[in-house]
């Protein structure tokens, strides 16, 4: 595990998809008018004959992808997460999920990582995809996992939704970290609190755990890259050993990681206080940058610390962390 500020990489996904396509002739790439933004300009340059411009027509693109998969191809479909899930939900349900076809839907720019306003923020994509039968849902945390996720999902027999951060991708894990699809992973052990994080929330979760540890609060941080199927055994093992369970997701608290963990705990009869960090049933407005939105809507390292501090009944001021730079230095990623 590396320490912040994290170095960043550009286009780890785009390079990984090209690597897979070099090995496998069945890989096709579809893009919904966001080719450079979804890193598949790399694929288009190397395999133009296997690249399909879907244009701004997500419904049609999903329908075509389903039929291509039916014919034995492995289509990877690219757009922003919000357009990949809200607009063509019925098409994904009927043309991809119901027939259980191996289409890979890659949605970039998760949650409030964009200043593009509510129209561009995928705050419900995990919930929408999670509710569909046959669908696997993945939200990886860093560049090391992003490099591995393409190969990890290649042979899943059914459809997969992957949400990916856009732009500079932090390198949090060491190079020998292995992404295991369907498995949650304890990345930092603790005894008081189990803090489950997915995607972009791993970095602030680690920072919060570090700060709390300095003040006598021992926090387990569990990275949950596969939200469906949830690694219930790992969730229950971690949740059963602490006084407080916290989930952290760059998404609505309804229907995503927090809901999945709550369902697993409740069905197992595991009674333990639970706090869900995420967008609290609201759209997110007003920003120039993601850090502002993470702060405004309670997704920051400070918000994590304060939530855990008060839930444990601690008195006095919560541990402070330096505010994240509004604009990270180029090539450097600080938890927001």
């Amino acid at each position: 595990m590396r320490e912040p500020p994290y170095a960043t990489e550009l286009k780890p996904y785009g390079r990984a998809l090209v690597d897979l396509a070099r090995r496998r002739g069945d890989v096709l790439c579809l893009s919904g008018d966001l080719t450079r933004q979804t890193e598949v300009d790399l694929f288009q340059a190397e395999f133009p004959e296997r690249f399909i411009h879907g244009g701004m027509a997500e419904a049609n693109m999903m329908g075509m992808a389903g039929a291509l998969a039916r014919c034995g191809y492995l289509p990877f479909v690219h757009t922003f997460g919000v357009f990949a899930t809200r607009r063509p939900f019925d098409q994904i349900a009927n043309a991809i999920a119901y027939p259980n076809l191996p289409v890979r839907i890659i949605g970039f720019m998760p949650g409030v990582s964009t200043p593009g306003g509510p129209s561009h923020q995928a705050i419900d994509d995990v919930a929408l995809m999670r509710v569909l039968p046959n669908m696997t849902v993945v939200d990886v945390a860093d560049a090391v996992e992003t490099r591995q996720v393409v190969a990890a999902i290649a042979d899943v027999p059914g459809p997969v939704y992957v949400r990916l951060k856009r732009g500079e991708i932090p390198v949090i894990f060491d190079d020998d970290h292995v992404l295991r699809l369907g498995r949650a992973c304890v990345v930092s052990a603790g005894t008081d609190v189990a803090l489950f994080a997915s995607g972009m929330m791993l970095a602030p979760a680690l920072s919060a755990a570090r700060a709390l540890g300095g003040h006598g609060v021992s926090v387990s941080v569990i990275n949950v890259p596969t939200i469906k199927p949830l690694d219930s055994a790992a969730v229950l093992a971690a949740a059963g050993a602490v006084r407080l369970v916290v989930t952290a997701e760059n998404h609505s608290v309804i229907g995503g990681l927090g809901s999945a963990v709550a369902e697993a705990m409740a069905e197992a009869g595991l009674g333990c206080p639970l706090r869900r960090i995420g967008l609290r049933d609201t759209f997110a407005e007003g920003s120039l940058d993601a850090a502002y939105l993470f702060g405004k809507y309670g997704l920051s390292t400070s918000a994590l610390i304060e939530t855990i501090w008060s839930a444990l009944g601690r008195t006095g001021p919560a541990p402070a962390v330096p505010p994240a730079a509004a604009v990270a230095a180029s090539g450097e990623y600080s938890p927001v």
Partner: protein, 277 residues
């Protein structure tokens, strides 16, 4: 007789001696399929019988594909397959049957159907792209209904198909002027239909959808078309070929009382005997 057979399955065989007779038998079979329930999508079979017969008469078994975008129309391909000896459709529409009245993923005969309207043409495009990648010359016969033209996805697909010059596609567009809330032209103005497709870059023609000779000629012309997908705007009626239907029959979902079913079977059987005589 496998319930999972599809038009494009290698090794499948059928022949259509007379598409006019097949259309009549599709009507009769559809009445027999709907009669046990007393209601169903008989109007769709009546308006599309000649299109289905023409598609089966033209398509190469085991090579070409059949897509049924409006899954309510699945009764037509089921009836045709039964009449061609490809499968037994008994149990259609009943609890536990694989032959659901609105087509599903399990529906045999067609290569694709989708109960949520407006989606089938996109799947046909995916098939056309896959066939192009593989160097196959398969043609894709795609049933689309006029009501589906109200769905935006149809036009997304129409733009894509023309841009990519997917000339393997031929759409049989059933313009029966019927949707759930009433005649299509009282709900939304979709005319001029052929001019819209032409403007989108398609080879588009208006055809009498109950004239099997005209349909056969139009399908042949579509097959000769290079660089453009084709659409046949088939002008039809949900009551065509069944004179005993009451004038107020709801074409989208016809009620078929036992008396009416007996009359319909009697009428269509007599017409079939007359045709064969």
């Amino acid at each position: 007789m496998s319930p999972t057979l599809h038009v494009s399955d290698p090794g499948i065989r059928w022949t259509v001696a007379d598409p006019r007779e097949l259309a009549l038998r599709i009507r009769l079979r559809a009445v027999q399929m709907v009669a046990p329930q007393g209601f169903g999508y008989l109007g769709q079979a009546l308006s599309s019988a000649e299109q289905v017969a023409a598609a089966f008469a033209t398509a190469r078994p085991g090579v070409d594909r059949l897509v049924c975008s409006p899954a309510h129309y699945i009764i037509g391909p089921f009836a045709a397959a039964a009449e061609l000896g490809l499968l037994d459709v008994s149990g259609y529409g009943q609890n536990g049957s694989a032959f659901e009245a609105i087509g599903t993923e399990r529906s045999p005969v067609v290569d694709y159907t989708c109960g949520s309207l407006g989606q089938g043409l996109s799947a046909a495009l995916g098939f056309a792209l896959a066939d192009r990648f593989r160097g196959s010359d398969a043609r894709i016969f795609t049933m689309v209904s006029d009501g589906e033209l109200e769905e935006g996805q149809v036009w997304e697909a129409a733009l894509f198909a023309a841009h990519h010059r997917l000339d393997a596609l031929v759409v049989l567009l059933d313009a029966n002027n019927s949707q759930v809330d009433g005649p299509v032209d009282t709900i939304t103005t979709i005319e001029p239909i052929a001019a819209k497709w032409s403007a989108f870059g398609w080879h588009a023609v208006d055809v009498d959808g109950h004239d099997v000779d005209a349909l056969g000629a139009a399908l042949a012309a579509a097959a000769a078309e290079r660089g453009r997908p084709s659409v046949l705007v088939c002008r039809t009626s949900t009551r065509h070929g069944l004179d005993c239907l009451p004038p107020n029959a709801d074409g989208h979902f016809i009620k078929l009382t036992p008396d009416l079913a007996r009359a319909a079977i009697s009428e269509l059987t007599a017409k079939l005997e007359a045709l064969r005589a």
